[in-house]
């Protein structure tokens, strides 16, 4: 039974007690990174205070407990996204970016050859573009893009043609710039009909809506702990066990081997094959705590709350600035997450963000690691406000007050 109150999440989140420039912090940058609640911070502290040791090594008590923490987090993660074969399908990485690099450099290099096509979209984060360009430069694959239409959604009118020869369709569940939520199940079904596998960038969805890899029917699923109230430095790649077994090792070193001799090595089986070196252990304790915390709130509840916040903010932004503030993203809150990219007429996003900081408002100015998308809309940058489970309409109040000031200052 879940009990979700954004106010209680706020009380649980120590950083939201801070003042910035003499005002309470208004944190509107959850698309960059979410703020951890106290249970996540305490889980990591407790780990270091009571259990820290290296994993998969010692036989002494704390080493066993540290291994339990690490492997327990893998089990929690498997449950959280409904991985059908459980822990055997969960690879811990540094972040979503490393998950995509692992995907491209291990699976891609082993299964793709010159002329094979990887299809991405114009609204991808650089993390789901650059590794494919690197692979193109190495082995000669083709990287193809699904265009974005003027209404800030994927233009799927030519999708059947674009999918010709495609081995992998890799796309985002939700744009970190536009807020657009893509129809993952439908796109996946079409891609599978064309014989392509599907990789999903879930970085922007995993902390804001339920994730179920069986229901979505995707083949790869990548996300970061710090976008779902967890710590930085930890990401996840999920893929079907059968695919994982077909993937060669990525980084080499300790922990990822079954045997090493003077004439070569034998890699370990399962996810540890991809986890070379001492992993982030405390961070997995934080991730497990974040999962339990989110499950307690209920991700459906969070999704509903953020949709209400977004609908309210979209309406007020459209009404209160005489057209001087343009939303770069869908204008209504349907199939859309709580990401509001703002283009303020006559005021550069950096200057917008600077003035907002004076009000304690945290937004992100810049290209958001999505330069192809920015070019598509002839923008160098936007100022992006984004909601999290602790956001309230009072945050939007302060945002609008601060925006008014920015518009006046540079008017």
């Amino acid at each position: 039974m879940s009990s979700y109150s954004p106010r209680r999440v706020r009380d649980d989140t120590p950083l939201l007690n801070r003042e910035i420039n003499g005002r309470p912090i208004t944190y509107l940058d959850s698309a960059s990174s979410t703020l951890p609640p106290r249970p996540v911070i305490e889980a990591m502290s407790r780990y270091y205070e009571l259990r820290h040791a290296n994993v998969h090594r010692g036989v002494y008590q704390t080493a066993v407990e540290a291994t339990d923490v690490y492997e327990g987090a893998r089990a929690a993660t498997a449950r959280f996204i409904n991985a059908p074969r459980g822990v055997d399908e969960i690879v811990f990485t540094k972040n979503t970016t490393e998950a995509f690099n692992l995907l491209a450099k291990s699976w891609g290099a082993a299964h793709l050859k010159a002329g094979d096509v990887v299809l991405v979209t114009e609204m991808e984060h650089h993390a789901n573009i650059v590794p494919w360009f690197q692979l193109r430069d190495q082995i000669g694959i083709e990287v193809r893009f699904v265009p974005v239409s003027d209404d800030f959604r994927l233009d799927v009118s030519g999708l059947d043609r674009l999918l010709e020869g495609v081995k992998l369709f890799s796309f985002t569940a939700a744009s970190n710039v536009l807020g657009t939520r893509n129809p993952v199940k439908e796109l996946t079904r079409i891609a599978h009909d064309h014989g392509a596998l599907v990789a999903l960038d879930a970085a922007q969805s995993v902390g804001h809506q339920p994730s179920d890899v069986v229901d979505l029917d995707v083949d790869f699923f990548c996300f970061s702990a710090h976008k779902m109230l967890g710590p930085t430095g930890l990401g996840v790649l999920w893929t079907r066990a059968a695919i994982l077994e077909s993937m060669p090792p990525f980084l080499g070193g300790g922990g990822m081997i079954a045997d090493v001799r003077v004439d070569g090595y034998v890699p370990a089986n399962g996810p540890t094959r991809f986890e070379a070196g001492t992993p982030p252990i405390a961070e997995t304790a934080g991730l497990a705590a974040a999962i339990r915390y989110l499950e307690g709130l209920g991700l459906e509840n969070i999704a509903r709350h953020e949709e209400d916040l977004t609908a309210d903010a979209l309406k007020r932004l459209a009404n209160e600035f005489d057209g001087r503030v343009r939303i770069i993203g869908p204008a209504d809150a349907v199939d859309r997450g709580g990401v509001l990219s703002l283009d303020v007429d006559g005021v550069h996003p950096h200057d917008v963000a600077q003035v907002l900081d004076q009000f304690g408002v945290c937004v992100r100015p810049g290209h958001h690691c999505a330069k192809p998308l920015m070019r598509r809309f002839n923008l160098a940058a936007t100022a992006r406000a984004s909601f999290g489970p602790y956001s309230l309409t009072t945050d939007t109040d302060v945002l609008l007050e601060a925006l008014e000031s920015a518009v006046t200052m540079f008017g």
Binding site: G22, H350, Q358, A380
Partner: protein, 160 residues
Amino acid sequence: MANLDDLYREIILDHYRTPRNRGELPPPAVRTEGYNPLCGDELVVYLDIHDGVLVDIKLTGHGCSISQASSSMMSAAVKGKTVDEVRAAIERFKQLMTVHESSLDGDAEPPVADIHTMGELAALQGVVKFPVRIKCATLAWNTLSQGLDDTYGVQGTGSK
């Protein structure tokens, strides 16, 4: 606490709203591109140099008020100067944009000896109180420096 008025001086907003020396110069003018990869700002500096004198300078591109004002003020400050003088102005400006430990620890003003010789550019001094914005202010200057390096070699001025 750093005050926003320290950053957005009236003279800076004036240069932002009405930038000086906007436009392009045809070849053989030296053309140099500068980028701020963090914020996506782009700048092109055109230099027309004759006999060791920067006869003309033009700028195109887009960026925030600080980067636009800094490039506009820079163009006004270096136009008509010798390459030696331009190099010296670049050095002085970089000095101005250096974060000194004292300014991070407390409220002490950074020690800049010849601030009074810098004219309007001194208005950009407030930028150091906003360290994230220093890259905005220095983009044009680094691009200008690159243009001179491309012409005369690193730190070269063409003079014997």
